[in-house]
């Protein structure tokens, strides 16, 4: 089979390349045929002209033929030598199609691996937080104070604001119903019980998940991306001990304080509405609130807060350490950590509600 010969003009540029491409496609290239590009008149070529040659080579490959060239000299010859592997291998690979079952199996395997990783982290974290310090195996006490300051003290203002506003809102919503029956004073009971058992813990946990949970995930993910985690491991330092345990202990210590603050702020918000809008005397409101306050309810809120803290730290660390790729991976994992935090907070909250409903109450 004689090759199809196409001559190339003196300068191979974007424009002449386009024309060349057009004229090449007019030929009926058959399977096994050769498209011979004659470069003997070509004195110069640039990258865009060369790119058109690649396009032509690809077209030839797609039809089962191939591209060859002859007569290149000088600068053109050097160019051709450099891009020869590209011209020879010109066909783009199509991505393999993945079936439904394959996807399902893949997802299952990955989910199991992730759960196993999480359980490992959980066990390690518990060991290095609770047991190791008593066994004299070291705990970074200095870091603990830093972390408590960052996670606790610096969250006070935002936590106060969120719970205060929520208290105000709950008082407004419930007063609209109760005052029609002349029962406005019972708003005080409602806010007290609501914040003690449920609202302060959940609202605080959401604030902390958004602040601290995201920070933990981003910090660990960045450390992993920048090979700091590998450096730690290489020095024989234990990641759960070095990074996870101080954060876990710090947040579990700080969280009950933040939840207590949340309760007080919420009740204060409710009281503002009761005193200034419902026109109930402050001492009557306070009296009603204290009458509704039961230690059991308050402990329930604090207890939940403690578990939320564990969830937030471990989910943050878990996602941070699983990061892949660079900066985009850090963003993805941080988002994932916060979403999982908030989801698990609600799930854990519900499980406690079930527990208290059937067992304790």
């Amino acid at each position: 089979m004689t090759p199809i010969r196409i001559p190339v003009p003196g300068e191979l540029t974007q424009e002449t390349g386009r024309a060349l491409h057009r004229s090449a496609r007019e030929h009926a290239l058959q399977k096994g045929g050769v498209l011979l590009v004659d470069l003997s008149n070509t004195r110069t070529m640039d990258a865009r002209g060369g790119a058109w040659l690649l396009t032509i080579a690809e077209w030839a490959k797609a039809r089962g033929g191939e591209l060859a060239w002859e007569g290149a000299s000088g600068q053109v010859a050097e160019f051709m030598e450099l891009v020869e592997p590209g011209l020879k291998a010109a066909l783009r690979k199509k991505p393999r199609r993945v079936g439904l079952l394959e996807n399902l199996g893949d997802a299952t395997i990955r989910a199991t691996a992730e759960v196993r990783e999480f359980l490992n982290l959980l066990v390690d974290a518990i060991y290095w937080t609770i047991l190791a310090p008593f066994l004299g195996r070291g705990f970074r006490w200095g870091l603990l104070l830093d972390e408590m300051h960052e996670m606790g003290v610096r969250a006070v203002r935002i936590n106060f604001m969120m719970n205060f506003l929520l208290g105000l809102t709950i008082a407004m919503l419930s007063a609209a119903q109760l005052r029609t029956f002349g029962l406005g004073i019972y708003v005080a009971d409602l806010v007290m019980i609501g914040f003690a058992r449920e609202l302060a813990a959940v609202m605080t946990a959401v604030v902390v998940a958004a602040r601290t949970g995201a920070a933990i995930a981003a910090e660990l993910a960045t450390m992993k991306v920048q090979e700091e985690i590998d450096a730690l491991r290489g020095m024989g330092l234990n990641v759960p001990q070095f990074l996870v345990a101080p954060k876990l202990l710090a947040l579990t210590l700080v969280m009950p304080c933040l939840v207590s603050l949340g309760m007080l702020s919420g009740i204060a918000g409710g009281m503002i509405w009761g005193v200034y809008v419902l026109d109930i005397r402050p001492d009557a409101w306070l009296n009603e609130t204290l009458g509704a306050a039961k230690l059991k309810d308050i402990f329930q809120g604090l207890f939940k807060g403690f578990f939320f803290a564990i969830v937030i730290v471990l989910i943050g660390c878990h996602n941070g350490l699983r990061v892949e790729g660079g900066s985009r991976g850090v963003g993805l994992m941080t988002t994932r950590a916060v979403v999982q935090d908030i989801f698990l907070i609600i799930v854990v909250d519900m499980m406690f509600a079930l527990l208290f409903y059937y067992v304790v109450d």
Binding site: Q14, T44, D46, A47, R48, G50, A51, W52, L54, T55, E58, Q75, E78, F79, L82, V83, P85, G86, A89, A90, R92, K93, G325, G326, S327, R328, G329
Partner: protein, 273 residues
């Protein structure tokens, strides 16, 4: 574009009396030089002498305290953001460790400037990307992610992205740092090839002697923020200036430990990845 045609014009870049500070610390204390079209201009000097800072000023990433940086007749220190962006499209920058976007494949990294700025039809972009990657010897890496590449491959991919828009000038920060001698030498060959084939002017910051000997047309040596030598390789090797001799003879500095701490000896990020 051929090398001869461009040589007729004057210098492509002119730096006049450039003074810069980092906080209160002076980094560059009045540096002046010209770069001719098609030249491989090498900036050398010990760690912390202001090389990388100079490069960042020349590419418009930082703005100086005083002095001029003239690109093709325009003083880039006087330009506003938009005008500067237009000048920057005409220069390619290859970073020390590639500077690739980790979330995209190597091919997409190279395609990015073409899609954003290039006056190239969408139909030609895939071929053009493959062409550039073949030029730098990375034809097979098109569909890989940057973190699957070795250090040398990242530098090559960064170079492919820098030449994507066919800029007349390329700035290259530390092409051979952190590479084994074979890789480094391959990268030097690549730079020479690109200069010959595409007529690109290279401005290269490096402190690898082998690489300097192989590729440089002219050398600018900085020491503690001042230009202490400007000339060809032969002139540099026969220079009497003690610092220049010390550099080319690879003699250690007796006060190396203190150098980084004296005022003006500001430590930069250098070398190893």
């Amino acid at each position: 574009m051929s090398v001869d045609a461009k040589n007729l014009a004057g210098p492509i870049i002119r730096v006049e009396n450039l003074v810069t500070h980092y906080g209160d610390t002076p980094i560059l204390k009045g540096v002046s030089f010209c770069v001719d079209p098609g030249e491989i201009f090498v900036i050398i000097g010990g760690s912390g002498c202001g090389k990388t800072t100079l490069l960042k000023h020349m590419t418009g990433l930082l703005s100086p305290t005083s002095g001029k940086i003239v690109h093709d007749g325009t003083d880039i220190t006087l330009l506003d953001e938009d005008e500067l962006t237009r000048v920057q499209r005409n220069i390619g920058i290859a970073f020390q460790s590639g500077g690739l976007f980790n979330s995209m494949t190597v091919g997409d990294n190279v395609a990015l400037p073409l899609r954003e700025y290039g006056k190239v039809g969408e139909d030609l972009i895939p071929s053009l990307v493959r062409f550039k990657l073949n030029l730098v010897g990375l034809g097979a890496a098109e569909h890989l992610m940057p973190d699957e590449l070795s250090g040398g491959m990242k530098k090559r991919a960064g170079l492919a992205r820098a030449i994507a828009l066919d800029p007349p000038v390329i700035y290259f920060d530390e092409p051979s740092a952190g590479l084994d001698p074979i890789m480094a030498s391959g990268l030097d060959d690549l730079i020479l090839n690109l200069r010959r084939l595409l007529g690109i002017t290279f401005i290269i910051v490096t402190h690898e002697l082998d690489s300097i000997r192989k590729i440089s047309d002219r050398i600018l040596m900085l020491d503690q923020g001042s230009a202490i030598f400007l000339g060809t390789l032969a002139e540099a090797e026969s220079s009497d200036a003690p610092r220049v001799r010390q550099f080319f003879e690879r003699r250690a500095d007796e006060f190396i430990a203190q150098r980084g701490m004296v005022p003006g000896g500001h430590e930069e990020e250098e070398g190893a990845e």
